[in-house]
Amino acid sequence: MSEKDLISSDINTYIANQEAKDTLRFITCGSVDDGKSTLIGRLLYESKMIFDDQLSALQKDSSKFGTQGDEIDFALLVDGLAAEREQGITIDVAYRFFTTDKRKFIVADTPGHQQYTRNMATGASTASLAILMIDARKGILEQTRRHAFISSLLGIKQIILAVNKLDLVDYSDEVFKQISDDFDVIQKEHLKFEHVQAIPLSALKGDNIIELSDNTPWYQGPTLIHWLETVENTAKGKGPLRLPIQYVLRPNLDYRGYAGRVASGSVAPGNKVKILPSGVETVIAEITSMDGVLESAQEGESIAVTLKDEVDASRGDMIVEAGGPAELSDQFRVNIIWMHEQEMIPGRSYIIKIEGGTANATIAKPRYKINVNNYARLPADVLELNDIGSCNISLDRNIVFDPYEENRITGSFILIDRESNATVGAGLIHYALRRASNIHWQAFEINKAARSEAKSQKPCVLWFTGLSGSGKSTIANIVEKKLNANLRHTMLLDGDNVRHGLNRDLGFTDQDRVENIRRVTEVSKLMVEAGLITLVSFISPFALERDSARQALGEGEFIEVYVKSSLAEAERRDVKGLYAKARSGELKNFTGIDSPYEEPKTPEIIVETEKHSAEECAEQILSYLSDRGYA
C-alpha cells in the first residue's frame, strides 16, 4: 500500500511508520546552472511536498522570473532570498526537507560559484552523501573537482555523480560513460569516497529521477530516488564511546549529572569509563532521562549520566571508554578552511572551539595550501577566504580529540576572531604533533618565586606601546636607569634592537608584525620567569597581540604603558627620518601612515608626551610601580 493510501485508511500505522524512518542528510553541489535547484525542486514536487498554494505562487513567479518560458521553473521553489532571486543565483546554504515511503531527507543546497567554498563545506559537514551535479554538455569542470574534493575532505563516503541535462546531448550513453570514466580517474588518484554511483539524469524532464527513463534504455542502474532510499546510511554505534561533557546538571546536592551527546559508540550503566583530560577511571552509574532511567544509549543521542565515584569533570572534558581512550594533545597537524574576508595571520591568537570546549590557539605559517581545482600543493604565507591549507596549530592547553577521519565530531573545530567574534575558519584534526602523555614539564626546584625572592623584587613586564617617535625608547631608558639606581634587576627589549638579532628574518607585513610580537612575548615571559622587571619597547600596533601577551603572563605581571602622542607630533619629531621616507613611499607598511595603529582601550598607564617631558612621564611610571610594590 502506498503511503498516501495508508494516510487515508490507517493514520496510526502511518504515524508509527514515520517514527521508524531514518533520516539521510545529503548535499547537492555543482557549478552555476548545472541544475541543482531544478533537481531539488523536482524532488520536492515528486515527493508531494509542494502544496497547491505554493504551486500557484510558483506558476506566478515562473512567468515573472523563470527561465523556462511558460513551463514551471522548479528552481524558483528553492531560491529563497529576495536578492538572490534578482540575481538568479543561490548565495547561501539552504536546507530542504522531504519524505518518501522509505526515508526522511534533509538536503543542504549549496551554491556553485567559486567564492563560496565555505558554504559548501558547511553543507558537507553534516551530510553523509553528496550529489555532484554535472552538466552533460560540459563534463567535469574545475568546480566539479573542487566540490568533489571538499566533499571528500569533509568525510562524505557516498557520492552520486548526477550527469544532468542529458536531454541536451540526445541521451547519449557515450557522453555519460566518458564523464563517469573521467571521474573514476580523479577518484582513484585524489579522493576517498567509498562508493561512486553515476546516474544519467534530466532534472528538468524528470528522466531517471523516480522511474527508469525510456530515453536511456542503455542504463539499467538505480534511479536517483531509489538510490537515495536504499544507500547505506552511516553505521551506528561504531567506535569506542565518546561522550563530550556539554553541561553539568546539579539540581540538588545529591545529584550530579553529566550531559552531552554521544559522539560515537554506546554507553550503559556499569561500563568502565575514563574522564579525560584528568585520566581518572570510574564507572557509569545511571543514564537519567525524563522518561525514566535508560538501559543504554547510542551514538547520536543526547543524554545525561551519573558516575559511581565523585570525580572532577566539567564542560570540555570527555567521558571515554576506559579501554579505548581518545588522545590528548596541545599541538596538531590540521587542515583549515578559511572562511573570512580577513586573512588568517600566522602567530595571531584565535579562539578555538571544539565540541564542548574552547582554548586559545596559534596557527603557524601554512605548510602549503591546496589548489582544489587540480589538487596541487602551493606555498602560502597566509590563508585567504576559501583557501584550504595544511597547518600546524598549537593550543594553550591540552584538549581531548580523535583524528577527523575517525570521528567527525571529536576531530573538528572552528576558529573565532577575538576582536569581532566572527567564525573565521573551520578545521579538521589530522594528528597530534606530540602527545601530552609524553611531555612532562620538568619540575625545577628553583622557580619564579625563588628567583624573585633572591632579587627581593616582584617581576613584571612594562609593555611600552605607541607610534614610532612617540618617545617609547627614551622613556623606557629613563625608567630603567632609575630602577637600576634603586638596585632593581631589569632587562630592556627594544624593537629596533631585537629586530637586528632574534627577529632579523621578519619584515613589516601584518603577519610579520604578529610573529615579531609573539616572539617578544615569549622572551619577556622567560625574563619574568627569571625574576626580572622587563621593559618592552615596541610599537606593537595591534590590540589582539598585546592582549595575547597579557594573557601569556600571570595576573599582575603585565603592565601596559601607552606612550601617547598624536601622529602629527610624532611626524614632526621624526627622530629617525622614517616618516619622511614613509610619506615619500620609500618605506612601506609604516605604522600610522599605511599600516594601522590600534590604540589601547584600557592600559594600566597612559603617558602623554605632548603634555609632559620624558622625565615626568618616567616619574609617573615609577610611582605606579612603587605604589604597587614592584619597585
Binding site: 513567479d61 529576495a82 546538571l249 550531559a259 551527546r261 554521544v262 525524563m290 547520536g300 567564525t423
Partner: protein
C-alpha cells in the same frame, strides 16, 4: 557522523546555549511548536529545571483559550513566565482592525519583543521557527546573529559548520536560537503524539462562532470584533493550523477532533501551513523583510 536524531539535536542546542549565554530566555508563544520546544527544554535539563526564564509577548489579541492554557502550563511546571505587552501600543490603542495586520504585528510583536529583550538584557532568545515554514527561513542559521539594533543581516551570518555553534558576541548584540530548525510540520505532530505533549484545544475541530472576512474564516473570540450585523456570525466546525492573534488567524473547516485526525487532514490537505496567516500574503519575500527588521 552520528545517526541524525531531531530530539537529540534540539537538546544539544539547548544545553549549548545554557552553557554559553549570560542571560538566555525562552520565547514561549503558546502554539504547538512552543509546546514541543518546551518539552525538549525540560528533557535537556532533567532532573534540573531549565536554567532560563520564559517570555510571552502578548499583543492582547491572542485567543482567550491560549492565555488560559499558557497560565495553566506554566503553573503546572512551576516555571517563571514573564509577559510583556508594548505599553506604547496599548496607549495608542493599536489593534488589527483599525491599523491593519502589518502595523499591528510590527508594533505589538516586533517592537514589543525588542523592548522585552532590551529591558531584561537577554542575550540569547530561543524561538520555535522551522526551516520548512517558508523559503527565506530555509537559509536561516540555528544560531541567528542580530546586531545591537536587533537587525538580521542575511549577508552577515556566521558559517555554521558541524554542530559547533559560535555563541560569542559583544555587549548589546543578541542571538536568536532555533532548536527546531530541522523539524518539519509532520515531525512536530508526530512528536506531540508520541510524547503526549499538551497543546491548546484550538488545534482540534469544534463548533466555534466565526464570520467570513475576505474569504477567511475568523473566530469571534470577544466583543472587540467589529461586526455590523450579528446574524453574520455562524457556528461551524473549525480548527486552527497555527495560533496567533485571533483577528489575524484564519480557521479551517474541519471535522478532525483528535490528533491523529489532524495529522491525517494535514497530510491530505493541499495548502501549506502558513496560508491561514494573514500577515504573510502581503509582499513577495515579506517574511524576509520582517526578519531584517527584527521579527522572529
Amino acid at each position: 557522523m552520528a545517526n541524525f536524531n531531531l530530539e537529540a539535536e534540539a537538546i544539544h542546542i539547548f544545553r549549548e546555549v545554557a552553557a554559553e549565554a549570560e542571560n538566555p530566555v525562552f520565547l514561549y508563544s503558546v502554539g504547538k511548536d512552543s509546546a514541543v520546544m518546551l518539552h525538549l527544554a525540560r528533557k535537556a535539563f532533567y532532573p534540573a529545571k531549565p536554567p532560563f526564564k520564559f517570555l510571552h509577548v502578548d499583543t492582547k489579541w491572542k485567543f482567550k483559550e491560549m492565555i488560559a492554557f499558557r497560565d495553566k502550563i506554566m503553573a503546572d511546571l512551576g516555571f517563571e513566565l514573564l509577559v510583556h505587552t508594548n505599553p506604547d501600543g496599548i496607549k495608542r490603542g493599536i489593534n488589527p482592525f483599525d491599523h491593519g495586520s502589518v502595523m499591528h504585528t510590527d508594533i505589538m510583536k516586533t517592537v514589543a519583543l525588542k523592548q522585552a529583550l532590551d529591558e531584561h538584557q537577554f542575550d540569547i532568545a530561543f524561538g520555535g521557527a522551522r526551516r520548512d515554514e517558508e523559503k527565506s527561513r530555509s537559509k536561516e542559521r540555528i544560531f541567528s546573529f542580530r546586531t545591537a539594533e536587533h537587525r538580521w543581516d542575511p549577508k552577515n551570518q556566521r558559517p555554521e559548520i558541524w554542530s559547533l555553534y559560535n555563541a560569542r558576541k559583544k555587549l548589546g548584540e543578541t542571538i536568536r536560537v532555533f532548536p527546531l530548525s530541522n523539524w518539519t510540520e509532520v515531525d512536530i505532530w508526530q512528536y506531540i503524539l508520541s510524547e503526549n505533549i499538551p497543546i491548546p484545544d484550538l488545534y482540534l475541530a469544534k463548533e466555534r462562532p466565526v464570520i467570513e472576512r475576505d474569504g477567511t474564516l475568523i473566530m469571534v473570540d470577544d466583543e472587540r470584533m467589529p461586526i455590523k450585523d450579528k446574524s453574520e456570525i455562524r457556528y461551524e466546525m473549525v480548527r486552527f493550523r497555527t495560533l496567533g492573534c485571533y483577528p489575524l488567524t484564519g480557521a479551517v473547516r474541519s471535522s478532525a477532533t483528535t490528533l491523529p485526525e489532524i495529522v491525517q487532514e494535514m497530510l491530505l490537505s493541499t495548502t501549506s501551513e502558513r496560508q491561514g496567516r494573514v500577515i504573510d500574503g502581503d509582499v513577495g519575500a515579506s517574511m524576509e523583510q520582517k526578519k531584517q527588521e527584527g521579527y522572529f
